[in-house]
Symmetry: C2
DNA sequence: CAGGGAGGTTAGCGGTCGTTAACCTGGAGG
DNA sequence: CCTCCAGGTTAACGACCGCTAACCTCCCTG
């Protein structure tokens, strides 16, 4: 998942620090000078890499949505034989990995969407919708009693549950990463099960 | 829950509209002129009611946290006899009512906390912590196998689930309010149950 | 009926922020 | 060795925004 070598491109450095700062203080709460300072250059030097501040946010949000969707599609394709239960577990696992490893991005994901230009926002929304629909299909295979609207609501709610990781202790004080992942996984399955008749 | 009559005070109007705007575009993304326009006065007229823009956000966030905590405490006191299961159901119900009826406030609640002055932020955090601890105690009575850190993580996660309502269809297209509340309630209970051994 | 405060108004100041302009510099390539 | 460009720098502009100042006008009260 890294670029080519282990070192980050200046461009990737900028995106990473911008994501962190946007998540911490909000898009409007961070100045370009701060972003520049975070990567060791100052202020307008950023404009050698991005056409503007908006473009950084757009690239981050489109990247997040695309990454989630692509990961889910890959899991669907690699799941021949395991059955829908195993596939749902795989989707949950993938989402949890993302939520635990890229907390700032998860935060941005549903917080700063409205700051995008119309075209970018529509693209992100489309990617998000496809991701949701993919989940809805799998969930309804596992729990056939769920109607489609109910399944969709349930999926959104489980996303809320899984995306709660930024609120779990600023430093991962509580249990270790593995235990947290397991807990979230069990709770997600339990929530889906209770959404259906079970 | 209204003031004295049915009509809102100018001050309450302002708070309500400010909450909506802050939730939609973020604290820094809304200007005082817009807030004023939303209540029919323009710009600096707001300063007859609040010492500054920050004060509006502070009052909103402190109000939210206090309202949640007080509601929960009331439910605890009124629950003599029902047993912990009924009490947990009552807490869940109260939180769902709040999440469904005051979506903008729920959004603000965990999004703009960092924009507060230190003292206000500490107050809000303290109220939030008390609210969480109250839940943790009740949850551990219902599911004694849960360790305290696990129960706390589970509570945060269930909050994430319940607070997902802003993402469920901008207009309540899907099921009706009652059905949504029921669904969220079942999912929350299922999530707690699966967090414990069940 | 005088007067005064509550609750508006508009004009404008001061600071911040995104962006552009103009300039500099080290290192790769012919 | 000259050139040139990628990737910086600082200065500065223009817009916007929070807030204050100064002023106006009802309406309530003694």
């Amino acid at each position: 998942m890294a670029t080519r070598t282990d070192a980050l491109t200046r461009r990737e450095q900028i995106l990473k620090e911008a994501a962190r700062l946007f998540a911490e203080r909000g898009f409007h709460g961070v100045g370009v000078d701060e972003i520049g300072a975070a990567v060791g250059i100052s202020g307008p030097g950023l404009y050698r890499h991005f056409p503007g501040k908006d473009a950084m946010l757009a690239e981050l949000l489109v990247g997040i949505s695309g990454q989630l969707l692509n990961g889910a599609r890959r899991r669907v394709q690699e799941s021949d034989g395991g059955g829908p239960e195993a596939l749902l577990d795989s989707l949950i696992e993938g989402h949890i990995d993302f939520a635990l490893d890229d907390r700032p991005l998860i935060t941005l994901h549903d917080r700063e969407l409205d700051r995008l230009r119309d075209s970018d926002r529509k693209l992100v929304r489309q990617l998000q919708r496809q991701y949701v629909e993919l989940w809805v299909e799998v969930v309804r295979e596992v729990y056939p009693d769920l109607t489609e609207p109910t399944a969709r609501s349930a999926v959104h709610s489980v996303f809320g549950l899984l995306n709660s990781t930024p609120h779990l202790g600023r430093a991962g004080v509580l249990p270790g990463r593995g235990a947290t992942a397991e807990l979230l996984h069990r709770m997600a399955r339990g929530a889906f099960g209770s959404a259906a008749g079970v």
